[in-house]
Symmetry: C2
């Protein structure tokens, strides 16, 4: 018999996807180059040539049985070793291959992290603004998602609100830095204080509270900065990663969970994730891609275009009088809309072929997200459209 | 807090995996060429050259952003269209691309099929002997797995036992043909009768009973035969497939669910599977592999070695007095052990460096599985070891 719960979910459409579909359809009418489509967080720069060359070499000279064979259920050792070495070198960690669980992207990583360190019925806390898929992701693990209201001044953490949200039913806290949609990079001070609060609450409640850190934008940080590594500040941390953005491989579904060696039960969490996979139909990410990524582990795509685009947009938005926090990373910016109803604002923008995503689905009213993973040339052409839009609709110039 | 259920699962080890690990360790002592390792169902023939050439072409001439970009959440259209056309041509079906849901192999396919057409707490019926992972797969979907005792005469279906197993709580029936571990190919007569029973029980119970058909061995059929297509016999069928065996791509995690257009609610089942993915962390199979497989959809690896090996082993086993049903396909054979305790039998065989899998975990006592996806030369050398084993331990010659 048809499952009624999933059938009921068919009603709910993703705002981002609907806008993206609209942009595609509109592009067919007027030429896609004339649609200023800021809807989707899809990398606009290619995978690095070194990755392509590595894969061509694997296909040309590798043994197909080895390249395409079953991954061991906890991942291919050389891939896991490469990940551990990369993280240790960059962030002063002491991972071994045994702390790395390869997954089908960050979605797969989060699915395993949630199930490993919570029980169905537990509460998990996250912070507005947040990636809307956290709703179905946590619901799928049987968790109640509690959202802490945003710190709208800097998109860091409102610690008073956070402490009010914590109670003994909370067994995990989910962060995403650099952040989709705000572009904020959690500072060292934020991460230190987060760790202090969690340590204190662990003692108070007498049980673990795991920090689940979703880090697909880790390598997209501006002004020569870096993202402080959350796991370095708090032992009970599971770091969830994907190469969707840093190597521009979103369709290849490759990522991992890295278990902090100081975490409680660190030695069994990766084998437990292997057991979790059996119940969800997950398997390791594609073998050939594990092998390819292992060989280019220290590389990224040329991510500089995102910083160029951010600066162009940020300057234009400030000039036009928008309230906006300058992003520290990602390829998103999250300005305040020019009216309280962000959906109404974005609907008006659509008339100027500006495809902006209203903020309600990110858990904050009154803002909008622009994904500027598009050609710089198009960002430049979008700015006059933005100027015309705010002049004609809101009298700003 | 650590999830206690998954922690408890760490105790249970897979018999097949333990034997495979033993074979690898033993190989390090005496040379792996001297270990007659029949434990693992891992393809021993390479992917066809046409697949490698296609992938090389994609990497050399394709746009990396397109090749590695996000798959649409219900799959890449050209892949779905290629699958539908292939199935329509071969089996007289009338699928469109909209009936095809791409998955990370058969494990991903089954995970979506179970969740789409059952509710947690329902019963699902399968038939001994069966793939041991059906236990965790169905448990993960909240289902109670009921196993119908085997038809040991031909490894088809004991229909009396099947009818006794059916009750109003059963909402799905799971078959696997060609079968792991027996090598049986369900005949047209079996599939017709299965459909008749299910149609009658649907009417009697007043609700759908979906047939979930696990078909990764579909193309490995001997004597020039073919596997009758289960979905052609019964409307409420979800066909689950993987290219792990037919294209020797087990590590690339690519398969699908094909929804029979005559199934109840056929039009919404694929979109529902897209919703299911959001809760389990599944995403579509790797984009590059979807594109590659679409272009070689009508090809297979050279599967003839499996038939050669089967004939060698079958003849030897018959000569040595084993009771054994000649496999119609797959790369498994499932003879009766020479003593009632199959585990004791396989332990003795290990002393002769013959790695055989006892049948208990397949839901039938007293048999053993040999996976002959190995070099023919090794099968030939294994036969004298088998002869010596049964002569010395059981006085057979």
């Amino acid at each position: 018999m048809i499952n009624e719960e999933y059938k009921a979910m068919l009603g709910g459409k993703s705002v981002i996807r609907e806008l993206s579909e609209y942009a595609t359809a509109r592009g067919k009418q007027i030429g896609y180059e004339n649609v200023f489509d800021f809807s989707l967080g899809n990398p606009s720069v290619p995978a690095p040539q070194a990755f392509t060359a590595t894969m061509e070499d694997l296909y040309a000279h590798g043994d197909p049985i080895a390249i395409h064979g079953y991954s061991p259920s906890l991942g291919i050792p050389e891939f896991k070793e490469a990940v551990a070495a990369n993280l240790n070198r960059r962030f002063g960690m002491d991972y071994t291959a045994d702390h790395i669980f390869p997954t089908t992207g960050a979605a797969g990583a989060l699915a395993h992290a949630f199930r490993a360190v919570t029980e169905p019925g537990d509460e998990i806390v996250t912070f507005a603004p947040y990636f809307p898929e956290y709703g179905p992701y946590t619901a799928g693990a049987g968790l109640k998602l509690t959202v802490v209201p945003a710190d709208t001044t800097a998109w860091q953490i409102d610690f008073d609100a956070f402490e009010r949200a914590l109670n003994p039913k909370v067994t995990a806290v989910l962060i995403n830095t650099p952040n989709n949609p705000s572009g904020a990079v959690y500072s060292e001070a934020t991460l230190r204080r987060l760790a202090e609060v969690l340590e204190a609450k662990q003692r108070e409640f007498g049980h673990d509270i795991f920090l689940i850190s979703d880090e697909p934008y880790r390598e997209i940080v501006f002004d020569g900065g870096t993202q402080p590594y959350p796991s370095a500040y708090y032992g009970n941390t599971l770091s969830c990663y994907s190469w969707s953005k840093s190597l521009s491989l979103p369709g290849e579904r490759i990522g991992y969970v890295a278990v902090n060696p100081r975490a409680h039960d660190a030695g069994i969490l990766v084998p437990m994730m292997g057991q979790i996979s059996r119940g969800t139909g997950h398997n390791c990410p594609p073998s050939s891609i594990q092998l390819g990524v292992a060989r280019v582990i220290d590389q990224t795509s040329d991510l500089s275009v995102y910083e160029t685009n951010m600066n162009l947009l940020y300057d234009a938005l400030v000039r036009l009088g928008f309230e906006v926090v300058r992003p520290g990373g990602t390829f998103y910016i999250f300005p305040k809309a020019l009216e309280a109803d962000a959906t109404a604002f974005c609907l008006k923008a659509k008339e100027y072929d500006l495809i902006l995503v209203p903020s309600e689905s990110f858990g904050v009213p009154g803002y909008f997200r622009m994904a500027y993973c598009i050609d710089t040339e198009k960002v430049e052409r979008a700015i006059p459209a933005l100027e015309r839009f705010v002049a004609e609709e809101y009298g700003r110039r």
